[in-house]
Symmetry: C2
Subunit: 232 residues, 2 copies
DNA sequence: CAGTGAAAAATTTGATCATATTCTGGTGGT
DNA sequence: ACCACCAGAATATGATCAAATTTTTCACTG
């Protein structure tokens, strides 16, 4: 049955060849939390997710464990797993953390940035602008995340990137709620300043731009949530 | 089905009965990584852990998933799950992160500390001194962790506490290796300064004390690992 | 007589295990 | 040295058991 382990022929780059199921489920659930249809406070059940995603329960369980460990979901005591509701204190923590993490990563990213990195960031930012003009909120959320995520990866700091990524998972759902109220207008976009700083090779300026972007965006979340902590 | 629901008589108060197995496994594995017998670079297999801990494989898998998500273990590509080896860059990241996190948490903890908190910290620190005098390294590691952990919890910042806790999981194994070389002598202990600051109600002084403790300890790790990155 | 409370049963959900299937890595033969 | 086979490990499924939540009913009171 084998007889082809060596050849591969390379014609098929194996698009989704061997991707473990729990990995797939994890990514789907993660996207669901980050951009998607899971609102803060909403409770999910394992078996409900099994049917929703059409998967066995073991992969779903493992993906859930992972998301819970990352803070994307909460083990609401008895029998509930839900997307965490953030209060003002939590938002304050997240603002403090990102205000410290993101500028540092942006500084390191700028120090290491090559032309292709700059091109990639510029491309994402262009798509992001298009999504804003289009009024495509889901696209905005996803592209904004990908922009920052690309910046993290350029910093060559795997642990801090992990931490920063975990932070996104925590405030992602609330960000979505806020954007749902505000609309794609008036969203902060200091990305142009950042791109200029990277182009000029000025790490400190890049850090300052990112700090401004983060603070502005997060403060908007804080204000919006403090105004209406619950939406129903 | 009618025969079941026998009364149980309730004579057994079941001291720790309702602790899910995967939770137990997780804590055991976590302790193993933090203080214990799993050295950096050491590979573990699922089935090996099943026998070692005497448990089914589903709970072990879930616990592993969780530890991997927290960065305590690494999915070493092929077929191996191992304790991550830290290089100088990783240590630098951890130093930066703790240098920022720990002082902030110590400041908040000091602002919120009550007499019972101070007593608890003092008690842990006394036990810690005893462990050092005794030359009990495992005790030192565990009590040192519990000291900082208690401080985190006093800060009333659940998200940042989670992040800081995850950081411990990452450098715990390396800390153990370093202490194995250095011995319990010469270990940093700026805890007295911290306790004084808390007693005096001086948050900034507490932050400074913790910063000194963290930097001193982590720099020791960095130097020791850069001198001998591999131990065999 | 109606409404509210609790208690019990039933359904739903979560946890664990045993088992089958697949993939990887090593080994032996040519 | 290379290719094929084998063994072991990890992934995924389904079933089974236990616990909790919910619903329903019955009794008691106003």
């Amino acid at each position: 049955m084998t007889s082809r382990t060596a050849r591969e022929t390379g014609s098929e780059p194996t698009p989704t060849p061997r991707l473990p199921a729990h990995e797939t489920i994890y990514r789907e659930l993660r996207a669901l939390v980050l951009f998607g249809d899971l609102a803060p406070g909403q409770a999910v059940t394992i078996q409900g997710l099994c049917e929703r995603l059409g998967a066995g329960m073991t992969p779903v369980r493992e993906a859930l464990r992972r998301l819970i460990a990352e803070g994307a979901l909460e083990f609401q005591g008895n029998r509930r797993v839900s997307v965490p509701l953030l209060d003002a204190g939590n938002i304050g923590e997240l603002i403090y953390a990102r205000q410290w993490l993101d500028p540092y990563l942006a500084k390191r990213a700028t120090e290491r940035a090559g032309p292709e990195d700059l091109a990639r960031l510029t491309g994402i930012d262009d798509d992001l602008d298009a999504a804003i003009l289009r009024g495509d909120m889901r696209g905005y959320l996803e592209l904004n995340y990908r922009f920052h995520r690309a910046l993290y990866e350029m910093a060559d700091a795997p642990i801090l990137t992990d931490v920063a990524d975990g932070l996104w998972l925590r405030f992602g759902p609330s960000l979505r709620v806020v954007c749902g109220r505000v609309g794609t207008e008036g969203l902060p976009d200091k990305h142009k300043d950042l791109l200029d700083a990277i182009r000029a090779g000025q790490p400190e300026a890049a850090a300052a731009a990112i700090r401004a972007d983060v603070v502005q965006g997060m403060e908007q979340v804080r204000q919006s949530l403090s105004r209406q902590p619950r939406d129903d």
